[in-house]
């Protein structure tokens, strides 16, 4: 088989990116219920995993995950999210593509690891909350004074960022298992995977 992405693959990439994004987005809405706020980084990759797992049964060529990530990044940019999403949404999916490629897009270990890596793209959304803020806080101090800046700093310590990395990974891993179970229970039996 040809290893270059074909027009049919491009269409599949578009469809699954749409599905992934909508599942991700709708799950994210639950985040407005404060209790779930902290669970969002784990919940979104968990729910959206089904789309990703099905995606891997439909396309299995290098570049598929990178393009998906890039599209997600572009979409986030267009809807006004911080530009830091772009390097995250290209970098992590590219790593995932490499890992998946190593397992020929079939090996279960590389699928799990690949999905964990891929899911980290969303960290680009919160990155500016925790980093790149030296200049931000310097100017904040100038403008509003120390107390304000210090309170703001104290509620977003960098370790929360690393904790979120772990939450994403846990959610993604659980999602990979859940997605695989659904594939087996439904899509394979329906002759679709």
């Amino acid at each position: 088989m040809d290893n270059r992405l074909s027009a049919k693959d491009f269409i599949n990439i578009g469809i699954f990116t749409a599905l992934y994004f909508l599942l991700f987005f709708v799950t994210g809405m639950i985040g407005y219920v404060p209790v779930f706020m902290l669970l969002i980084p784990a919940l979104c990759p968990f729910v959206a995993a089904v789309a990703f797992m099905l995606y891997l049964t439909r396309v299995n060529k290098f570049g598929m995950v990178t393009i998906m990530g890039t599209l997600l990044g572009l979409l986030m940019m267009l809807t006004g999210h911080p530009w830091t999403i772009i390097p995250f949404a290209i970098g992590f999916p590219l790593l995932a593509d490499l890992v998946l490629k190593a397992g020929n897009y079939r090996n279960w270990t590389s699928i799990r690891l690949g999905y964990i890596l891929f899911s980290q793209w969303l960290m680009g959304l919160v990155f500016p909350l925790f980093f790149m803020r030296d200049s931000y806080f310097a100017s904040l101090r100038d403008g509003y004074g120390d107390t304000y800046a210090d309170t703001l700093l104290s509620i977003t310590p960098p370790w929360v960022f690393y904790l979120m990395f772990i939450l994403v990974a846990v959610g993604a891993l659980a999602g990979a298992y859940f997605g695989k179970a659904l594939l087996k229970k439904h899509f394979q039996r329906a002759g679709m995977a």
């Binding site: 992405l5 074909s6 027009a7 049919k8 491009f10 269409i11 599949n12 990439i13 578009g14 469809i15 990116t17 749409a18 599905l19 994004f21 909508l22 599942l23 729910v47 089904v50 789309a51 099905l54 439909r58 570049g63 393009i67 998906m68 890039t70 599209l71 572009l74 979409l75 940019m77 267009l78 809807t79 006004g80 999210h81 911080p82 530009w83 830091t84 500016p128 909350l129 790149m132 803020r133 200049s135 931000y136 806080f137 100017s139 904040l140 100038d142 403008g143 509003y144 304000y148 309170t151 703001l152 509620i155 977003t156 859940f178 659904l182 439904h186 899509f187 329906a190 679709m192």
Partner: protein
């Protein structure tokens, strides 16, 4: 016949080239995330935060403009009036609200403006002019086309669930997710397969360069806005490093 040649232009009250919108979005994004609360930088940040407001007004999106004004006004009022007079949890909440949200909301509103006033064919034309590869343009076009499809399918499945008496709450969440997501994936993928076949018989995927008949182009107002945005960004960056 006027309609074809003037395609995509008539609906907007203040049409801009999509590339202009994207440039404004990018500049605003960098500046607003980056900060700037005093001196020139403060003025430039305020300038970029006000862009979406003016654009929304020009597009006669009154409701969105009003909400945005209300939001920014409240955030500023909190910062100025309440911050010094509160302590503890209230103080914390106000800091989160005015410090974090106001850092992201102008960008999001700008995004709302861009997405709600640009047709998908315009985005695609812009991407083609900006020399994006087909590997991004084709999936992007399909993705945008599938958002409404997924919504339609999801609504139909929701109706079917109601009719079958499968409801949220009560039951277990994982099973609900399964009932909701599995048929959605199955029917969307099926539509996708048929769409692929139809698109391929219409010549998608050929090696030659695609034409795009969607007319986009810079006008005076595009040049003006781009010039303002870029120079403001440059001043802001110099101020930041100085």
């Amino acid at each position: 016949m006027e309609l074809i040649t003037s395609a995509n232009r008539d609906l907007s009250a203040f049409p801009l080239d999509p590339r202009t919108k994207i440039l404004l979005l990018l500049c605003a994004n960098v500046v607003i995330i980056g900060g700037g609360f005093s001196g020139t930088a403060g003025i430039i940040r305020a300038l970029f935060a006000s862009f979406p407001l003016f654009l929304l007004l020009l597009e006669r999106k009154w409701r969105a403009a009003a909400f945005y004004t209300l939001f920014i006004g409240t955030a500023m009022a909190c910062e100025i009036l309440l911050l010094q007079r509160t302590a503890g949890i209230w103080n914390l909440l106000i800091v989160i609200f005015s410090g974090i949200f106001s850092r992201f909301v102008p960008g999001l509103v700008m995004g709302f403006y861009v997405v709600s006033t640009t047709k998908i064919s315009e985005f695609i034309a812009a991407m083609e002019r900006l020399r994006f590869p087909p590997a991004l343009i084709i999936p992007f076009a399909v993705m945008m086309r599938f958002f409404p499809t997924v919504k339609e399918e999801s609504a139909a499945i929701g109706d079917a669930m109601k009719m079958r008496g499968i409801r949220m709450g009560g039951g277990n969440a994982i099973a609900m997710l399964e009932y909701r997501v599995v048929p959605l994936l199955i029917s969307t993928v099926k539509i996708g397969e048929e769409l692929s076949a139809a698109a391929l018989t219409r010549g998608l995927g050929g090696p030659g360069k695609r034409t795009n008949i969607c007319e986009i182009g810079f006008r005076l107002r595009d040049w003006t806005l781009c010039a303002i945005a870029v120079s403001a960004l440059l001043i802001w960056m110099m101020g930041g490093t100085a």
